[in-house]
Symmetry: C2
Subunit: 395 residues, 2 copies
């Protein structure tokens, strides 16, 4: 069934390939973006390794190739509430995919300004979307799909798998250990940066608007994305996706691959003992399609999936890239304030039950990413590689 | 020991008597306020039942009576970050008492604009204060005392007492009920309005800034405040405190007392089966003094107290006022979306261990409030009494 889908942040690293994938499925797509991500490139004096085109050129290229139109509204959804409300009210989307948040942990910690920008932008953006759905009376019509993060759970080693959002607990009374009945709660949040904190606060927005207004919401707690191209972005170079390698927006595995391609040592923070959850960008777009195809029922609580396919220890990934490319490892002081080593087990069957066939780490896929990195290595600014954003100004 | 204390929102219902009480103790006080509460009176076309004076007249009257000066900065702390940072950096407060949030649940639900104002104001205000402390390097120096709400816990009937912030739980694995080790978490939040939601989100700000930056924070989950005068505000009529009776800002017990004084029926929402936690304004100011006198140690987690002295069922309060005054009860449709009836048991020994001697409901105190209500009843606008803010626009 064809759906009308609004993609907030549709010009970004996940938003653009998701828009193309959903358009390729025959849905009607409309992008909302304020191009803040491109302005952040200017601020940080760095560019995507890949030569991404303007959004209007991207959209025109896709129309040429596929015959599908993609709409566009240039709005700041954290500020331009009246315009957002009107757009949602007139367009009446079946689904809204919400990528329009500042998504980098290091960027969120660069300075007081960056902390405040991240909080102000992410919280007002999410809340404005919720208000606009309710004010338009679309509580039962419009399904909101939000990109969360695995980081809401934190990285304390747990003795069993992290659940998909909800945790069964037994409340213990302080005085006498008399036990109450069991209950199910949102997994106790433990954010590791201001960015992650905003995503734990988003969960409370969703909890409340689902409870009070009956909004239908899916929250996808995504792992660290790697890869760059999808089936749709590969169809024309004008459709090429972002590849971030800088210390703020680059994600760890893509950074290792780029570092290997340009002859830079693989920068491992601390001991590299951090275990994290990962997903390939091709699976990201599949997961979002599956979430849209399976909205929660009316009256259902917020649906939460862990959008991740595998976990790896950071130094194991570095060793793997070393074996494939010969690149040396460089252990550097960890700019973050986080557990030095952790284990991580994640429940992730929800999306697979809906049909996801996970793409896991393979030499073939790594080679494909390496090829992209190699092809555009002349665009790399080596001085932008180190991660310089400190979690604490004072030790 | 004399301390320098910044009171954010020092012109408000709790802020003003707290400022006077702390000044009377010999501390050095400085108020920050943007007078939004007075502008809300204009917006709602209602005034405090009591004839409150301008803040400058209040401050001058206090100086005359006590010889104590109170400083004043007119700032919007959710917006004027640079000025807030400079003030905190130059004044180096030992404690900051943070009342500067939109504090009415009905006001937060009046419209989409009011929801968005509450979120934008409360979350940016709290976050700006945290950032300003960190950016000034005052993490170990300045103790932040925040007014939370009992509403963060929600009003599901629990089989034992609500703890003071932290709940011991046993995580249960989904597959086989194999139990993990016990742990202590922030009590699972369950907000009942957009206003309450922002206070649950504040808890995550505090959790994170305590964890990452070592901030010393006390969060006081206050019950519903009643009463109006304190020992200090009684010293001169120019020092008189606010008395809100309107459907948005008036609190339930003060509203009943006012209704009885003006011959209006006591408006009970739903069955009046809601059990809530209460505190007298004289205890509010004592509790804040005690919190300031006992800051958390360096490295201690966020300290949470339940700032409440007793619980009552709403219809029991209505019956009590009926018995004292003869006023009739009027059961009206509940504009809120909340549990019809609930039980409530609250742990509240923390502040009593620090020295609080609770003032609980008594005929004498009720008579004192009645006297205030009677004295100023000519200022009451009867049409402002009903609570008209609906939790859901559509049933």
């Amino acid at each position: 069934m064809q759906k009308r889908i609004l993609v907030l942040g549709g010009d970004g690293f996940c938003g653009w390939p998701t828009t193309l994938h959903l358009s390729a499925q025959g849905h009607e797509l409309h992008i909302v973006d304020n191009f803040v991500r491109r302005r952040q490139d200017e601020e940080l004096r760095v560019q995507s390794l890949t030569p991404i085109r303007s959004l209007s050129e991207r959209i025109e290229a896709w129309r040429e190739l596929s015959g599908q139109k993609i709409g566009l509204s240039t709005l700041d959804i954290a500020r331009d509430y009246a315009e957002l409300k009107t757009l949602i009210g007139e367009w009446r989307p079946d689904a809204i995919v919400h990528f329009a948040e500042q998504r980098s942990a290091p960027y969120s910690m660069k300075s007081s300004w960056h902390k405040r920008f991240t909080v102000d932008n992410n919280l007002n953006a999410t809340h404005n979307v919720l208000c606009a759905i309710v004010e338009n009376g679309l509580e039962e019509h419009t399904h909101l799909v939000h990109l969360g993060t695995m980081g809401v759970y934190g990285y304390k080693t747990s003795s069993f798998k992290l659940p998909e959002g909800y945790q069964r607990v037994r409340l213990l009374s302080p005085e006498n250990n008399e036990e109450s009945e069991d209950t199910e709660i949102l997994y106790p949040p433990d954010p590791g940066s201001v960015y992650h904190m905003t995503k734990t606060q988003d969960q409370l927005f969703f909890y409340y608007y689902n409870k009070n207004d009956g909004l239908r919401i899916t929250d996808l707690h995504q792992g660290i994305v790697w890869g760059t191209e999808t089936a749709e972005t590969l169809r024309d170079e004008r459709l090429i996706n972002r590849f971030d390698y800088d210390g703020d927006f680059g994600t760890v595995l893509n950074r290792f691959i780029l570092q290997a391609a340009v002859g830079h040592p693989l920068t491992v923070h601390g001991t590299g003992g951090q275990t994290r959850a990962f997903i390939h960008i091709r699976d990201t777009v599949q997961c979002i399609r599956l979430a849209i195809d399976h909205p929660p029922a009316a009256g259902e609580r917020v649906r939460v999936f862990n959008q991740t396919t595998e976990t790896h220890r950071v130094r194991d990934l570095a060793h793997l890239i070393h074996e494939l490319t010969g690149a040396e490892l460089q252990f550097v002081d960890n700019p973050r304030n986080e557990h030095v080593e952790n284990e991580l087990q994640v429940e992730n069957q929800g999306l697979q039950h809906l049909g996801l066939q996970p793409i896991t780490l393979s030499a073939g896929l790594l080679a494909e990413v390496s090829e992209v990195a190699g092809k555009y290595q002349h665009r790399c600014l080596r001085e932008k590689i180190p991660a310089r954003s400190l979690w604490r100004a004072r030790p």
